[in-house]
Amino acid sequence: MIIKQLSVFLENRTGRLTELTGALAEHDINISAFSIADTTDYGILRMIVGRPELAETILREKGFAVKITEVVCMIIPHRPGGLHKALQIISDNNVAIDYMYAFASGECQATVVIRADSLQKIIAVLQEHKMELLQEGDVYQV
């Protein structure tokens, strides 16, 4: 249920992101999901990739501040109100979300990547409400 996400610290510098994507491409690592939180001076890149441990090693060797963080990936229907229903369940159960990002995967469904203080709790809450969560086995090929 717990999915490995790669987090990278990036200075706001032209070309820095390209160096990163280049390193991953070179090693044939696919990026399934991708988001950047940006501040004035730097950005924090978060992504789900195939073979996260290998990607971490490669990026570390390239001098990036990188680490693996744990998240959950929830599947929701790709239609109005889909995200709202899921978030309602989470907030009703007092689970605080640190950050999240989402992407539509195909016509009928979307995937939401969530980082929360307590991943165990959010997993329990979502399963109790019959929400679908991605398994580690299928996520890296999303």
């Binding site: 939180a37 730097y42 001098g63 501040a65 680490k67 980082r115």
Partner: protein, 424 residues
């Protein structure tokens, strides 16, 4: 005063001072004994070069009052400058020290043409920093009307300058230039400004800055030099010839040494400035190494004074920076980063000057093992670094988190500072 007469006076004062520190300060007694010198060996100014040097480290090692020659009840004032690892450089003054300081500042202001008809606006910081109070007492001694406005609050500075009709301004040169530009921005009619002289010091400045300040404010800008270890502002001062600062040698005996060999250099040669404040009571120092690099000139000045002149300092023999008048050592930043558990001492200080005000950016590498992927955590770290560094340095610095291994590590001495101000 003729030079021979002055040297005789310096010799008498030096002899008396050496005896005094030998009797009263264990640090100096040990130091003199270690070098095999008895106070009796010092008979004239010729013997000055037999004496050992005093450094800022000696002040730190004897923190806070270890170098005082008088009991606490004779101390009437304490000043301090920021220091590494949180410890300041502390200086103490007796009543007589304050009188002497007042006297040299009064002389300085007189050299800038300040009299009892003047209104002196003191925009140096008041407080532990010696700038504000030092100039304040001297200006009162001259009989001028003093506006103790202290630093900052530019709008108020301009308002009082106009309403009170300030005729002299004392502050750091960068703040003077900043006020000059603010005057233009606020569209204040220069005819309403009565300023005629500026007494500027506490940080290095160039002839270009002097021209700029003089034009912006319509004044003559005078350079004043001093450091708290010796007394504060008023160690030396420019006359109207603006051709070097006259050192008040009757109180502060100057020397220039080679900073590497410590050999005394003749007049005209570039080296490190050393002072022996022979008349100071509370904390006289023997051959204090200022780390400022300059030259001394003994030729009589066109103003008629025979006092030795020092050129504007061209740099430092250590890595100290002067930012907004505050002394900053890269090692202070290092000590903060070493003390914090989430950082390592991989940093770079970038100093520049925007709108005539110094800015300090400190780049700190993010440590991969402490890297959090949450903005709030990283911003929290940045704020903690900011608070810790600001409290040690005494000035605010902007903190920029950078990627690991992006700050250049050289084989020898790491480059810790990029100074874009071009002050020399």
């Amino acid at each position: 005063m003729e030079r021979e007469e002055l040297r005789k006076l310096q010799g008498e004062r030096l002899r008396e001072m050496v005896q005094r520190v030998y009797d009263k300060v264990p640090f100096y007694r040990n130091k003199l004994q270690d070098t095999g010198i008895e106070p009796g060996d010092i008979r004239s100014i010729e013997d000055l070069n037999k004496l050992p040097f005093t450094t800022k480290q000696d002040l730190r090692d004897n923190y806070p009052f270890g170098l005082f020659t008088v009991p606490q009840h004779d101390i009437v004032r304490l000043h301090a400058s920021s220091g590494t690892t949180g410890k300041s450089t502390v200086v103490g003054y007796t009543h007589n020290d304050i009188s002497m300081w007042t006297e040299v500042v009064a002389r300085s202001l007189t050299m800038a043409g300040v009299t009892n008809s003047d209104i002196v606006q003191i925009a140096y910081g008041y407080g532990l920093f010696t700038g504000g109070l030092g100039v304040h007492y001297g200006a009162e001694k001259v009989g001028a009307s003093v506006i103790p406005i202290s630093g900052g609050n530019t709008k108020k500075q301009l308002q009082l300058m106009e309403d009170f009709g300030s005729t002299a301004l004392a502050c750091t040169p960068s703040y003077a230039a900043f006020l000059g530009e603010a005057l233009v921005e606020e569209q204040i009619d220069r005819k309403k400004i009565r300023l005629k002289a500026g007494i500027f010091g506490a940080e290095p400045w160039t002839e270009e800055m002097r021209t700029q300040i003089q034009n912006l404010l319509g004044i003559k800008a005078y350079d004043i030099y001093g450091l708290s270890e010796i007394i504060g502002p008023g160690v030396s001062m420019e006359c109207h010839c603006q051709n070097g600062m006259h050192i008040f040698e009757d109180h502060f005996i100057p020397e220039i040494i080679n900073p590497d060999t410590c050999e005394v250099l003749p007049y005209g040669e570039l080296g490190e400035l050393v002072f022996t404040p022979a008349t100071k009571e509370a904390m006289p120092l023997v051959r204090y190494r200022t780390r400022d690099l300059t030259r001394l000139h003994a030729e009589k000045c066109d103003c008629g004074r025979t006092l030795v002149r020092m050129e504007k300092c061209v740099g430092r023999s250590d890595d100290m920076l002067i930012i907004r008048g505050v002394n900053v050592f890269p090692s202070q930043v290092e000590s903060v980063l070493l003390e914090m558990s989430e950082t390592k001492p991989h940093y770079l200080l970038v100093v520049s000057r925007e709108n005539n005000l110094d800015t300090l950016e400190i780049q700190v590498e993010v440590e991969p093992q402490f890297f959090s992927d949450e903005v709030k955590e990283l911003e929290g770290l940045r704020k903690r670094i900011h608070a810790n560094i600001s409290s040690i340095l005494g000035i605010s610095a902007s903190i920029r988190l950078v990627e690991p291994n992006t700050i250049e590590r050289s084989m020898g001495k790491a480059q810790r500072v990029i100074d874009k101000r071009k002050l020399t």
